[in-house]
Symmetry: C2
Subunit: 297 residues, 2 copies
């Protein structure tokens, strides 16, 4: 069977099933990051790798600094989604032998800029030859206080679902310049009991079912409520992906305080309640409305 027919989630789920893990692994494959630490340690370590591939995540004509920025920021976004702070990065690059050195310098300029902005130490780099497209893999460590660590799986039936910012239209260029919601996620983890959180990388239509499933819930959203970027259709907001906004669940009793404090703290960034977690079989995917097309199928 070809992997395209299975889907990425199914592939990774089968491949990583039953992997041998030590007693200090709090969370392995299946969340935004792996979590390492003793059950009572005050601080847990986070591990994440992420890659961008020429022709898939960026075009060969893009400015290399934007590619470097994106490569690191994608991983920072995953650390943020756990409530954590990024710490150390290693960069693995495979490029064709005829790539110009200036291109690599540009790439590193973008990596450096992102590293400075988000407090990351780049502690290693490796380059390899590749027969064809450029491939950049970022391995990033992070830290999070155990009490503030947020996974995808802590949501409960009735929790309200929120997204930050606006969705859709990343393909027009935003996917290369996005700012990971690190400050916002840390603020949320410090001031609220966030029950489940992830970053929206594959689009709400793909990522919301993952969060709901991990929490053992279904979900219900109103498509009209999804905050869209200017000129975007609902379908784009649901499906474009690479928004790198936060999707999270909170208990309804925290909703009013959250919305008030958010407006004071981040007056320029929208926070939108899009729906709630519902009872439902783990695999249930509720049709969000009756527009005749189920984006969540």
């Amino acid at each position: 069977m070809k992997i395209a027919a299975l889907g990425e989630d199914a592939v990774v789920a089968v491949l990583t099933r039953g992997l041998p893990v030590g007693g200090d692994v709090r969370r392995g494959a299946g969340d935004d990051c792996a979590i390492i630490g003793g059950p009572r340690d005050r601080v847990w370590r986070l591990l994440k790798t992420d890659c961008v591939v020429e022709g898939v995540h960026f075009s060969a004509r893009e400015k290399p600094a934007r590619i470097g920025w994106k490569a690191l920021c994608r991983a920072v976004s995953d650390i943020a989604a756990m409530g954590g702070l990024p710490r150390h990065a290693l960069i693995t690059i495979a490029v064709a032998r005829n790539v110009k050195f200036a291109w690599l310098r540009g790439l590193y300029a973008g990596l450096r800029k992102a590293a400075r902005r988000f407090g990351v130490s780049i502690v290693g780099g490796e380059t390899s030859r590749s027969p064809a497209p450029a491939f950049i893999s970022v391995a990033l460590t992070g830290e999070v206080e155990r009490a503030r660590c947020v996974t995808r799986s802590g949501g409960s039936v009735g929790d309200f679902l929120y997204v930050t910012g606006r969705l859709g239209g990343s393909l027009a260029g935003g996917h290369l310049d996005f700012v990971p919601r690190l400050a916002e996620a840390r603020w949320l983890a410090e001031h609220f009991r966030i029950r489940a959180m992830m970053d929206i990388s594959d689009g709400l239509a793909a990522d919301l079912p993952r969060l709901a499933k991990a929490s053992g819930c279904g979900f219900e959203i109103c498509e009209e409520d999804i905050p869209r970027n200017r000129g975007c259709t609902v379908a784009q907001a649901l499906g474009d992906g690479e928004d790198f906004e936060l999707l999270f669940a909170v208990h309804p009793r925290d909703a009013a305080r959250l919305e008030t404090k958010w407006r004071a703290q981040f007056p320029k960034l929208a926070l939108t309640k899009i729906g709630s977690l519902t009872r439902g079989a783990v695999r249930a995917k509720r049709k969000p409305n009756t527009r005749g097309f189920d984006h969540f199928a």
Copy 2:
């Protein structure tokens, strides 16, 4: 300028120069692994990424389990070369959409086998599409007691140079089945003051100058003393690479005890003194003998 004209070391050196690093970074780019920890912490953390690319490090016709084994063992070898123990791995894979799922399962079978053998927890996996060759990147963490941590840079003039095993001929297939010298490196770090160490991945002719340069020394070796695999020429032993044997330096006063104890501990694995570190400008590369061809140029 094309990167092929510069060489990998120069490229990485320029790219990683002056990177912003935090106060807990004991060693960044430039050694087998990055070292993280406070100057007085009892245990330091090690970080390493390494990648294998189809058409460069393996052929598309190879059994995928052998490729998975190699991908993880390369990184284990780097952790070993610091005197450390590997802990947690994340696996990033980019493959064409028409790759068969059975191929990925085979790859993971090799990864799992290596993980079990060397006590590694695989805590995350990611797959991405690639327009062309398969690309597998391994991010591996490790730990080493500060007192046992061995870098490339601690060698001194007069130190004896040793290599484990036999060199050359990896291209015949050994590069896919090699066993990282984890047990041997730990034993060395526990029982001796190893002044500098690295694993031989690019061939002795490329790697020995790196160790000498990092230690601020030149070197002197006798090519006839290099332990070769059956049927290999000296040129192959120096240049084939992917031996994944250990290269290390010890003070001459430790040499006799080392050789005696090694024979008792690892009777089946050769340990060979190949030369010594010498006075010399950091960039000096001594011509090792007068065969008329300087492999170290």
